[in-house]
């Protein structure tokens, strides 16, 4: 009894954007269906419509010729659609049995929980799935991939018709991925529709049968994996990308401002060496989990490193020290502005001055006039759209919040600025403004290091790109000689 999940004319509108535009696709059971697309392509939105987290604006979802009437996750579960999310939903302090059967532990006559039956149920389930983990293990003691397995076992314990896997390998090491795939392949025999979302293209050939590609909210096509090459897939994902040109008046001097020598942080990155010249914009390209954010944080002194050294403006730095780096003129705008870059409840003005607090308080007390000048110059230069800087920064749009993060650091008059994902979650217009700010800094002789998941942005903004894979630098490229597809291929390991 094979089953089929169909999407008919699915449209999803969010305020200001069309996330999905007339999607028609069907997925049959007994196969693994990959669903791919770059950030903002709509793949997550489509997945969320299947899982019941979002309702489509138009169109319908049909499972085995039965229309899905309601869009909420509990209802989807009851119809046999189970989801394994990227952020695991397990409770680390409980055992495997308690986690899998949470809320559903069998009860003995008299109302007491039947732990024996519960454990046996789970043991049987794990055996069927060939997962070798004890039902009594504490989930918090398991490794990441084992938790991922338990999460899948939990989903399978509902005997779903559809299993949605959202980036299941994003935090797994290579050998762990292999074990996970073994399980996924065995699930196919259970006649389940498996939809597999991933940005790791190389893995798809090992596990998927078909691949559905979305771009800018539209269905580009559904292809058989065996008949498709890597470059076919990349072409489908990216299409013709128009890359706005970096201004050509940017000059790089020969003076080295920052030199990193054999920097190593165990299990994060190793033997990283590079030089940064005055006024240069250097990109670091790598996939999620390649160690790029960790590297930036260690250079900045926010996280430790175990060996190697950093030579910054003639000073030899041998251990991480954020306050010293800041004094020497380094700045970092963090990747997660809400949790790392801003104090959301605090006024916009305060948020523009936290990093430069020392300069504003020559004798411990705040120099109000100077503070006003610091706030005004950033609001003006960065074109932060704000009526009143005493409003909480949480009132601003994402793009303007990002400018506040940048302004906070520009107020320290840095000589090197590290931008970690400066364009994350902001609209195209704000992105362009942020890039202009980076170029403007370069003109002033400030050096920049930029990391972005959006590889085309690195090509657009940077003068030189270092490629990072699994904690190591594997190559260096010049953007002008490169297409987006090539860069993507390099980052995935096809160098």
């Amino acid at each position: 009894m094979s089953s089929v999940l169909e999407a008919h004319h699915i449209v999803k509108k969010f305020p200001g954007t069309l996330a999905l535009d007339d999607i028609n696709v069907s997925f049959e059971s007994g196969k693994v269906h990959a669903l791919v697309g770059k950030n903002g392509s709509g793949k997550s939105t489509l997945l969320k419509i299947f899982s019941g987290a979002h309702a489509p604006t138009e169109g319908e979802i049909v499972l085995d010729s039965e229309k899905i009437e309601k869009f909420d996750t509990t209802y989807a579960m009851s119809k046999g659609i189970a989801t394994v999310y990227q952020e695991l939903s397990l409770i680390p302090t409980l055992t495997v049995t308690e986690n899998i059967l949470i809320n559903r532990i069998p009860v003995k006559k008299g109302g007491l929980l039947d732990w024996h039956a519960a454990r046996e149920n789970v043991r049987e389930l794990l055996k069927q799935l060939e997962i070798e983990i004890s039902p009594d293990a504490i989930v918090g003691d398991l490794s990441m991939w084992q938790m991922q397995m338990i999460e899948i076992a939990k989903a399978m314990s509902f005997h779903p018709k559809v299993l949605l896997l959202d980036e299941p390998t994003s935090s797994l090491a290579k050998h762990e991925v292999e074990s996970l795939f073994k399980i996924i392949r065995s699930l196919k025999e259970k006649d389940v529709i498996i939809i597999y979302v991933s940005h790791k293209l190389d893995e798809l050939w090992q596990v998927a049968d078909t691949c559905t590609v979305l771009r800018d909210g539209r269905l580009i096509g559904k292809v058989m994996m065996q008949e498709t090459s890597h470059s076919d897939l990349i072409n489908m994902m990216f299409g013709q990308v128009s890359i706005p040109k970096r201004p050509d008046d940017l000059m790089v001097s020969d003076e080295v401002v920052l030199e990193v020598k054999n920097l190593t942080r165990r299990n994060k990155f190793e033997n990283i060496s590079f030089q940064l010249k005055k006024g240069e914009i250097l990109g670091i390209a790598g996939m999620l989990g390649s160690g790029r954010t960790e590297l930036l944080k260690s250079i900045f002194g926010a996280d430790p490193f175990h060996s190697g050294e950093i030579i910054f403006r003639g000073e030899h730095v041998k251990s991480a020290n954020l306050i010293r780096m800041k004094k020497l003129g380094m700045a970092l705008t963090p990747e997660d502005r809400k949790h790392e870059g801003l104090i959301l409840d605090a006024p916009i003005g305060d948020n523009l001055c936290y990093a430069s607090l020392e300069a504003l308080t020559p004798n411990g007390m705040i120099d109000k006039a100077k503070q006003k000048q610091y706030i005004d110059r950033q609001v003006e230069n960065l074109q932060i759209k704000v009526a009143d800087t005493s409003m909480p920064v949480s009132d601003l749009s994402g793009g303007n919040q990002q400018k506040v993060v940048v302004g906070n650091w520009l107020n320290t008059d840095p000589s090197v600025i590290i931008f970690d994902e400066p364009s994350r979650g902001i609209d195209i217009n704000a992105k362009q403004q942020i890039f202009k700010i980076i170029w403007e800094q370069s003109r002033k002789g400030v050096s920049c290091i930029m990391v972005s998941t959006e590889l085309e942005e690195l090509l657009e903004v940077c003068q030189r790109i270092l490629i990072m894979q699994a904690g190591k630098f594997v190559g260096e490229v010049i953007p002008d000689e490169l297409t987006n597809e090539q860069l993507y291929t390099y980052c995935m390991g096809g160098m």
Binding site: H339, D350, C353, L357, M365
Partner: protein, 329 residues
């Protein structure tokens, strides 16, 4: 804070923002009408005197709570400070090392140093071992109570020179109670530090989002340790004032004061989650608690009923707070 001061006039918003002030004014008017004794200057100054010792601690606590921490041990430090002062005065004068008059000064200095040391220790456990301040200071609450009892052998220590009573029981010009003067002085200092100093700005940042603060180059551990030391220093001042008022250092003083101090800060609009709170809010919270107590006493409300009212008030204040925050989301 002046965060919303410039937004356009909006009656419900003003009402909800200044709820505490409005309730306080209404309360004041009702009391003034219904009770002749209430409005007398002597009574009003009395209210101030009554809240002054817990109030000084509340101002220290304001730093701690804005920084996202808590100190439950404050009451025990109050007792310990009084005991240390009186014991030092007694022992040194008995041994003939110095007259009691000067020994008591040494005792006061010692009490302040020990208290700041306790704060340093609390801050050390907090920042070095990442222990929750709630647990550390819960332990210290009992530990210090025990220390105060042991060193005073469980008896009130009354070896204090007669002039010493000026701090707790004296008044300036026969009108202004000295503890109230201390309270106002501490209020003004805390107000200035929180609003206009680098340290104050750092305290808000650390409480609002420690990771953002750290990545902005603010020394989070130093700020947290400092606030733990400040509140303990406030306890020493408060303990000296109390021992002076009753002319004795007694180990059982200050029991339950953490409750009053924390209440005042929370009623004043601070958030236990950190990042929010003001000196003037705490001052209003203190006045609020003081007036309610005074009103109940004047109207002969049973002491135990007063506990019920106080407890309900704190819950009510936090409830209003959570409504205000919800509206923002």
């Amino acid at each position: 804070m002046d965060a919303q001061a410039k937004t356009k006039i909006n009656a419900p918003a003003i009402l909800s923002k200044h709820m505490l002030e409005i309730i306080l004014i209404l309360l004041f008017i009702i009391m003034a009408i219904t009770s002749d004794a209430f409005i007398k200057p002597g009574n009003l100054l009395n209210i101030l005197r009554n809240v002054s010792m817990t109030g000084i601690i509340a101002f220290g606590m304001t730093f701690v709570i804005i920084a996202g921490e808590i100190d439950l041990s404050v009451g025990s430090t109050v007792a310990l400070s009084g005991v240390i002062t009186a014991l030092t005065a007694g022992k040194l004068s008995e041994a003939g090392i110095m007259p009691m008059e000067s020994a008591v000064v040494l005792g006061m200095i010692l009490a302040v140093i020990v208290s700041i040391g306790i704060g340093l220790f609390n801050g050390f456990l907090l920042t070095k071992f990442k222990m929750p301040s709630f647990i550390i200071t819960l332990g210290m609450l009992n530990l210090l109570y025990g220390v105060a009892a042991v060193i005073s052998s469980g008896f009130p220590v009354t070896t204090l020179p007669s002039w010493y009573s000026v701090f707790g029981a004296g008044s300036i010009g026969g009108i202004l109670p000295v503890p109230a003067v201390f309270l106002v002085a501490v209020f003004i200092i805390v107000l200035i530090i929180l609003k206009y100093s680098r340290f104050g700005r750092a305290v808000y940042a650390v409480g609002g989002n420690p990771e953002s603060a750290r990545l902005s180059g603010i020394n989070v551990n130093k700020v947290k340790t400092s606030v733990m030391m400040i509140v303990q220093a406030c306890c020493a001042i408060s303990g000296i004032l109390l021992s002076s008022q009753v002319m004795s250092g007694t180990f059982s003083f200050g029991r339950g004061w953490e409750m009053t101090a924390i209440s005042a800060v929370i009623i004043g609009g601070a958030s236990l989650a950190g990042g929010r709170g003001t000196a003037s809010g705490t001052f209003l919270g203190l006045l609020f608690l003081g007036i309610i107590n005074n009103a109940m006493t004047l109207n002969g409300v049973d002491e135990y009923v007063q506990y019920i009212v106080q407890g309900a008030l704190i819950i009510g204040a936090v409830l209003i707070n959570s409504f205000q925050n919800k509206k923002k989301d």
